[in-house]
């Protein structure tokens, strides 16, 4: 165990994967010489060579498409797109090819690749750099979508994503890259994909969150605890496939659910959580499911970004509504 922030934990996971498996290669813009814009791949090119940690031209479709070809040929590529908001030029490759090859070849060809993308706002970045449009990818068949919220989960899920026989979009919450430190297991450490985790047990209300919002859900639970409200916090970890059983079990126990997502509300991850809860736990509910999300607006720039990203206050207020306060 070593205390690490998420950027270090991800770097550690990538180093383990590159060292353990010759088939693993990394490619992306500025991932080698500079170690990536967030330094997640720092030192890896030096250690593993420029033929395994590959600096590419500025071409998201090319990066995803080339990684797709490599994966079919038996490699385990880990592609990096600099920001989720820059992934759209590569979206056609993902939706038209990466997510479809197993189906359209009836398992004859498969594409075990990982596409890493930093996502979410909160650091006052330029336009397009603060997107939280993960629902687009969760809506796409044939790919798994993972979004860790803590350093240890980031490492365990990334190594599992690289080992997974199918394509995985791996979303890294920008504002917690360096914000949280925790003990991270050394060496090869895997967490199962598609499994959510109850990170804080409680009895009065369930807060369902992921990515950077997990930290704020925890803060809200702390604040509520001082007022005698016991909030259970679920870290979704994987957005597709969603772990419905963990959500439903908790909803049945607490009777109240607040679904939290930084993404836009309409057809978003929080909406999917709400739908699952009403389909499978309606008669256990003591209040309507509340959604706390980013709005259906373009993410505002630095000066007013804070009004968009769900705050601890908004989460607490939503819990209060479910409690009838």
């Amino acid at each position: 165990m070593t205390e690490m922030n998420m950027a270090h934990a991800l770097n550690d996971a990538l180093a383990v994967a590159l060292a353990d498996d010759d088939r693993v290669v990394m490619l992306g813009e500025d991932v080698g010489l500079t170690g990536g814009v967030f330094r997640v791949t720092d030192g890896l090119q030096e250690r593993f060579g420029a033929s395994r940690v590959i600096d590419t031209p500025v071409a998201e479709s090319g990066i995803v498409g080339a990684a797709f070809g490599m994966a079919i040929a038996g490699m385990r590529p880990v592609a990096e797109i600099q920001f989720l908001g820059f992934s759209y030029p590569g979206y056609d490759q993902i939706v038209s090819h990466v997510g479809r090859i197993r189906n359209r070849s009836n398992h004859r060809f498969t594409a075990p690749l990982v596409i890493r993308m930093p996502f979410g706002g909160g650091i006052g970045a330029a336009e397009h750099h603060s997107e939280s449009s993960e629902a687009i990818y969760a809506h796409t068949p044939g790919i798994k979508v993972v979004a860790p919220g803590t350093p240890a989960a980031a490492k365990g899920l990334l190594l599992a994503a690289i080992e997974d026989p199918d394509p995985v979009i791996f979303l890294e919450p920008i504002r917690v890259y360096r914000a949280i430190k925790e003990d991270v297991p050394a060496g090869r450490y895997l967490l199962p994909l598609g499994v959510a985790e109850v990170v804080r047990p409680g009895t009065d209300v369930t807060l369902v969150a992921y990515g950077a919002m997990l930290r704020d859900a925890g803060r809200a639970a702390e604040a509520l605890a001082t007022d005698g409200v016991s909030a259970e916090v679920i870290d979704l970890r994987t957005l597709s496939p969603l772990d419905a059983d963990t959500i439903v079990t908790s909803a049945v126990k607490t009777g109240r659910v607040v679904a939290i997502s930084e993404g836009h509300r309409t057809a978003g991850i929080a909406s999917e959580v709400a739908a699952i809860v009403q389909e499978r736990a309606l008669y256990s509910l003591l209040a309507p499911v509340a959604r706390v999300t980013g709005w259906d607006t373009i993410v505002p720039l630095k000066r007013t970004e804070r009004h968009h990203i769900p705050s601890v206050d908004r989460i607490v207020a939503a819990v209060r509504r479910t409690l009838g306060d």
Binding site: P57, S61, G62, G69, M70, D92, S105, R108, R280
Partner: protein
């Protein structure tokens, strides 16, 4: 830029043949076979036994001549109009037919056939051949990847990204553009202001070769050189094969709305099969009986494949859930149960 031509329309050699006579004879039999398939598939579509079909008549030499230059283990990434090239590289008629019948098993050629199912979207697949070849380069094999596309696909941004990556990383990739004059209704001169597509290679540091795409021997020679160059680790080549789509875009298209029928007259004189036949006739290695024998055998082989494909029982209602991942997720299992009426809603 004058296109490379080795066999003229009268079947006369303009230079040394890149293939021995018996190999030319064998490839003529292949040309007859793939044309028989093309006609059969069109007929099946009219009978409602195949979904929309994209004919390749007129482009047989471009596909057969290029695929003849490959090793059986080379990768191929082609499109819906490239059945001839795919079949030559080992993709069975059964699979090609099943794909057009609307069965995902069509996309699964036998083990050892390194041919991806045909790309239906235009342009995005070229970079896959770059990635496939790149992976072989990383592993130190001398396997190469060939990709087929049309003149229309060169207008897609992905053409640029594929060519650019191939140039920067010197990947063992052979780009074969079958410039058949048309992208559905849009003629070649509306796709690009470039005099040729081959010259686009220059911008990427990739050699570009212009060939008479209806000349089996020229296409073979150009591809043979490109494949050898890729195998030697010297990088990619762009080949532009000048040809003509003699039919409509697909069986769902009416080419009469945008193309004058008489514009095809000159192309009919340049038919890719006729000139090889004339060549064989001149050397006395062709007879009507032999051609009839070849076509009859091909028709029987294709008919047998049609029978097998039509006899294959369709997938069951819930089979789609099995094709998404190595193992279906709990979410997919719940949806399958819902479809089959076994489960509770949602999950």
């Amino acid at each position: 830029m004058d296109p490379l031509r080795i066999l003229d329309v009268d079947g006369r050699l303009l230079g040394p043949s890149p293939l021995p006579p018996e190999e030319i004879r064998r490839l003529f039999a292949v040309l007859l076979t793939v044309r028989a398939y093309d006609h059969k598939a069109s007929a099946l579509q009219r009978q409602g036994r195949l979904a929309t079909y994209a004919q390749f008549e007129g482009q047989e030499a471009a596909q057969v001549g290029s695929a003849a230059a490959l090793r059986p283990d080379d990768w191929m990434v082609a499109t819906y109009r490239d059945a001839a090239a795919m079949w030559m590289q080992g993709y069975p008629w059964d699979n090609l037919l099943l794909g057009r019948m609307g069965d995902e098993r069509g996309g699964a050629p036998p083990a050892g056939v390194n041919v991806l199912p045909p790309s239906i979207t235009v342009g995005a697949h070229m970079i896959h051949a770059v990635g496939l070849g790149w992976a072989e380069q990383m592993r130190g094999t001398d396997r190469i990847a060939i990709t087929y596309f049309g003149d229309g696909a060169t207008s897609e941004g992905d053409f640029h990204e594929a060519m650019n990556f191939a140039g920067v990383y010197r990947t063992p990739t052979v780009f074969v553009c079958q410039n058949n004059g048309w992208a559905i209704s849009m003629s070649r001169d509306r796709q690009t202001a470039s005099e040729t597509i081959a010259q686009k290679g220059i911008a990427y540091g990739i050699p570009g070769t212009l060939v008479d795409g209806n000349d089996l021997l020229a296409v073979f020679a150009a591809t043979r050189d490109a494949v050898a160059r890729a195998r030697r680790g010297e990088g990619a080549t762009l080949i532009e094969a000048l040809t003509q789509r003699m039919g409509p875009h697909t069986t769902a298209d009416d080419a009469g709305r945008y193309r004058e029928e008489r514009s095809l007259e000159d192309w009919r004189r340049r038919d890719p099969l006729d000139r090889v036949r004339r060549h064989l006739q001149a050397s006395g290695s062709w007879s009507e009986d032999w051609e009839h024998e070849v076509v009859t055998a091909a028709a029987a082989e294709i008919e047998a494949a049609v029978g097998r494909a039509e006899d294959l029982a369709p997938f069951g209602a819930g089979a789609a859930f099995d094709r998404m991942f190595a193992r279906p997720t709990a979410v997919l299992e719940a949806q399958r149960a819902e479809l089959l009426g076994e489960g509770k809603a949602g999950s």
